[in-house]
Each structure stands twice: as C-alpha cells, then as structure tokens.
C-alpha cells in the first residue's frame, strides 16, 4: 500500500456519515451539561461547578493505597498512556480507566464534569484533524461526489480518535488518583516526594481562596445584574468587566492580607502542623507494581500493533 486510496461516496451519504455524528455528539454534550446543571440547582445538593477534592470518604482499594506510591505509579502510568500511538491500545487504556473508576467508587458526576471539560478541545481535534492531516502514502481519502474539494483523511480521524481516547483515559484516571484522599494529604505526599513544601502550602491557600473568590465574584455579578447590567459587545461592557476584575483583585488582596496577618499572629511559619502517617506496606508496592506493569504492557502492545 503505497498509493493514496480515494474512496468516492455518493452525495446522499453526507447527512448519514457527517452530519449525524456531529449532531449526536452535540446532543450528548448538551444533555450532559444539562443533567449536571440540574443536579446542582437544588440548594441542598453540593455545588459541582467548583468540585471539592476534600471529601474523600471511602474504603476502596484506591482510598487505602499509600499516597506517595499512588502518585508515583499512577503518574508514570499516565505518561505511558499519553505516549500511546495506536487506537487499539488507547481504547484499552480507556477501558482500564473505567475499571479503575468503578473500583474507586468516586461520585460519577465529577468524572462526567471532567469529560465535559475535555469535550470542547477534543471536538475541535475530531473536526479539524480529518480535514487537515498531511497526506501520506497508504492513506485513505473519503470524498463525496459533488463535494470534491472536501477531502476527509481517515488517518487523521483515527489520530484524533486516539488522542480523544488517551485524553479521556487520563481524565477518568485522575478521579481515582486525586479524589480518593483529602487534598492536603495528596499535597503532603507530593512534598514528601521532593516537591518544595511551599508549593503544597500555596496550593492549599489558593484552594481555600478559590471558593471565597467565587462567592465574591458571584455576589458582585448578582449586584451588577440587579442594577440592570447586561453583557454586550461594546466598550461599556469591557469597562464593566475590567472594573469587576480590578475590584475582585483589590478586595481579595485586602482580605488575604488580613487573613495572613492573623495566621502569622497565631504562629504560622510556612507549614500547617499536620503529621502524615506513612508506612509503605507490601500491598502498596504490589498495587504500584501492577499499574506500572499495566502501563508497560500497553506500551508494548502499542509498539507491537504499530
């Protein structure tokens, strides 16, 4: 196979092969977004729009796994998945991530949120790649009679699908990786692994402020709406957004300064006193070994197929 294969399809197949998948994809994303929004509307329900990583009750395999071991082996595994180049192994990785998600038993809406966040970027790939992939010997081009200028490269589509599968696999894996321990524990694990302790402290601080800020931003936005502000594409709107942002900065700086002074007055010296009980048991090592082996197998499978 060194020639470029041209598959010519009749025009009536355009709606079937082109428009239908797009419409289905759009509907799926819309339905997902709607169901997540509805879930967060009632007052008592947790607000998933800024998902908290702190509530991590559970007794799954992933919850009991020692945090350093979990971080190292799952991150290495994620890199192994990211390096895959064929569709088959990438789909296998996606299946493994689903399995891990089931084992970890973390709340499903959060995993869906992650997929939703990915969908925009990946949809762009799915649409652009078949049209723009470089032509190589052995490629298959699909053209529709009457629309000859529109050439779909099947290899491009396959490449985009591989990327989407890898992205979704790693996104789903971050739930078992990050949501099965409280955020401070995960960060302490990171600093035990050599990350500067200050980075962990900063992430904790920002994580706290994040919720404060969002509340503040929502309150300010509500105030603007009540006063009759509607967003348009004009200079006054930009001005209002800029003042909004500036006010957010000013208020947050002042508030943070007060909080930090209060923390220092109570003896804060750059670390929270929270001892982390760590003992690596043999099951931790075993679990880590299993994931690394899985990653290695995926890479071998990938090279063998390719």
């Amino acid at each position: 196979m060194t020639e470029v294969l041209r598959l010519e399809l009749p025009l009536w197949q355009v709606p079937l092969l082109l428009l239908l998948p797009l419409v289905l994809l759009g509907m799926a994303i819309y339905a997902l977004r709607r169901s997540l929004r509805q879930r967060s509307v009632p007052g008592e329900e947790p607000d998933w729009s800024v998902p908290s990583l702190e509530e991590a009750a559970g007794h799954s395999l992933f919850h009991r796994w020692e945090v350093r071991c979990k971080l190292v082996s799952l991150l290495l595994y994620a890199f192994a998945v990211a390096s895959l180049q064929q569709l088959g192994p990438a789909l296998a990785a996606l299946g493994l991530s689903l399995l891990a998600l089931l084992l970890a038993r973390t709340p499903l809406p959060r995993a869906l949120m992650r997929l939703l966040a990915l969908s925009g970027f990946l949809t762009m790939f799915m649409i652009v790649m078949p049209l723009s992939a470089a032509l190589r010997p052995g490629d298959t081009l699909v053209v529709f009679a009457g629309l000859e200028w529109l050439e779909f490269n099947l290899r491009g589509l396959q490449l985009a699908a591989t990327i989407a599968a890898k992205g979704a696999a790693i996104a789903l894996l971050s739930e078992p990786l990050l949501a099965t321990a409280p955020l401070p524990v995960t960060l302490q694990g990171l600093s035990r692994l050599g990350a500067p302790e200050m980075v962990g402290q900063m992430v904790l601080l920002s994580h706290r402020y994040l919720h404060v800020f969002r509340q503040e931003a929502l309150r300010m936005a509500g105030g603007m709406q009540v006063r009759g502000f509607r967003k348009r594409t004009d200079l006054p709107t930009f001005h209002a957004v800029a003042n909004f942002l500036g006010m957010l900065f000013v208020r947050s700086f002042e508030r943070t300064e007060r909080v930090f002074e209060a923390m220092q007055a109570r003896g804060y010296q750059g670390r929270m006193p929270a001892p982390l009980a760590t003992s690596l048991r043999s099951t931790d090592w075993l679990l880590g070994g299993v994931w690394l082996l899985l990653g290695l197998l995926l890479v071998i499978f990938d090279r063998w197929v390719g």
């Binding site: 990327i163 790693i170 500036g246």
Partner: protein, 209 residues
C-alpha cells in the same frame, strides 16, 4: 485553551515538565514568604478570571490574564500561574496532568515577559500605565497563543491545521484581553496604585492598629 492529555509527543511533554520545574524553582526562590498569600490570590484570581465570559459578537471568550498576572507579580507570576493551572487540572480537567508542564510554559513565560515589559515602561501617569498595561495584556495572550500553536505543531505536520485554528481562535481573545487589561490596570492605578508597584510586594506596608 489548555492542552489536554495525549496530544503532545512524549518528549515534548516530558521536556516542558523539566523546563517548568526549573522555572518554578527559580520563581519560588524569588518569592518571599510575606508575598505567598498575594501569589495565592493571583492564582485563585487566575482561576476565577477563566470563568468570566466576555461576549464577543455571536460567541463569547473567557479571559486568560497572563499579562495581568505578570504586571501584578513580576517574577512570582510563573509560580502563581503554575499553581493556578495545577488546581485547574486537579479540579476541572482544564489541561491534562501530563500536559501540565507545557501549559505552565505556555502561560507562564508570556506572563514573565509581560511583567518585565510593564514594570520597565509603566511610567508615572495613569494614562501611560493603561497603555502599557493594555499592550502587556494583549501581548501576553498573543504570545500564549503562539506558544500553544508551536507546542501543537511539535506533533508533526498532521497537527499544523489544528495549530492554525488555535492561533486564529485567539485573535478575538487577544483584542478583548488588551482592552480589559488596560482598563483593569487603569482601575487599579486609581483605586489601589500600590498594587502595581513591585516595591509593595517586596516591602508590604506596616499596619499599626
């Protein structure tokens, strides 16, 4: 727009992780402990700003604020942005775990550059600060878009189309960002001018209660 997992070639992903780690260490060393909460504020604001939608014709864009972060924090901006991205990836999946290094480079380097630009040329008057701030804001986004395109294009000629689209999609964002940055800087220059001075970050004012 953040790069998701599995897009970049492994060598690029690992290499940018190493480069970001070095820059992060440098940026963290230049940040004194009194400034930590301020850096945390900008990280969190970086996060909240990406939730603000600004209408642009029929679509809407969200702000990226690498230029503003640079103008406010100087050399600590890289730290703030890397932390903001870490949280965005952990919480929202905006940007993949394995692409964290690449995303930090893409946003952090323009922030450092624009911070330098702003602090060097900001001058004394509010008018001038607005002009330079707008320039820094627009340039920050434009540079981030260029780096995004370059990183995407590192995947080979198959990715050139995606890189071009990503670049084009950032043109409206750059325009909006330049305008909004200029006005935000103008607002801060009027309301709390000491925020724009690096001296404020180095020697916070002493409160006597």
């Amino acid at each position: 727009m953040h790069i998701s997992d599995g897009v970049l070639p492994t060598s690029v992903a690992v290499g940018s992780f190493a480069a970001s780690a070095l820059l992060l260490a440098w940026s963290a060393r230049r940040t004194r402990s009194e400034e930590l909460p301020k850096v945390a504020v900008v990280s969190a604001a970086f996060f909240v700003a990406s939730l603000i939608q600004v209408p642009f014709g029929p679509t809407s864009v969200h702000l990226l604020i690498p230029g503003l972060a640079g103008a406010l924090l100087g050399s600590s901006a890289f730290l703030a942005i890397a932390l903001g991205l870490l949280l965005q990836s952990f919480l929202f999946q905006f940007g993949g775990l394995t692409a964290l290094g690449a995303n930090a480079l893409m946003m952090g380097l323009p922030a450092l550059l624009c911070g330098l630009l702003f602090q060097t040329f900001k001058g004394k008057t509010r008018q001038r600060k607005m002009w330079v701030g707008g320039l820094a804001g627009g340039l920050g986004t434009a540079l981030a878009a260029l780096m995004l395109a370059a990183l995407l294009a590192s995947g080979g000629e198959d990715f050139l189309g995606v890189a071009k689209i990503a670049l084009l999609a950032h043109i409206p964002v750059t325009l909006v960002e330049a305008l909004v940055s200029a006005m935000t800087i103008g607002f801060l220059a009027r309301v709390k001018p000491e925020l724009l001075e690096p001296a404020y970050l180095k020697h916070p004012p002493v409160h006597h209660d």
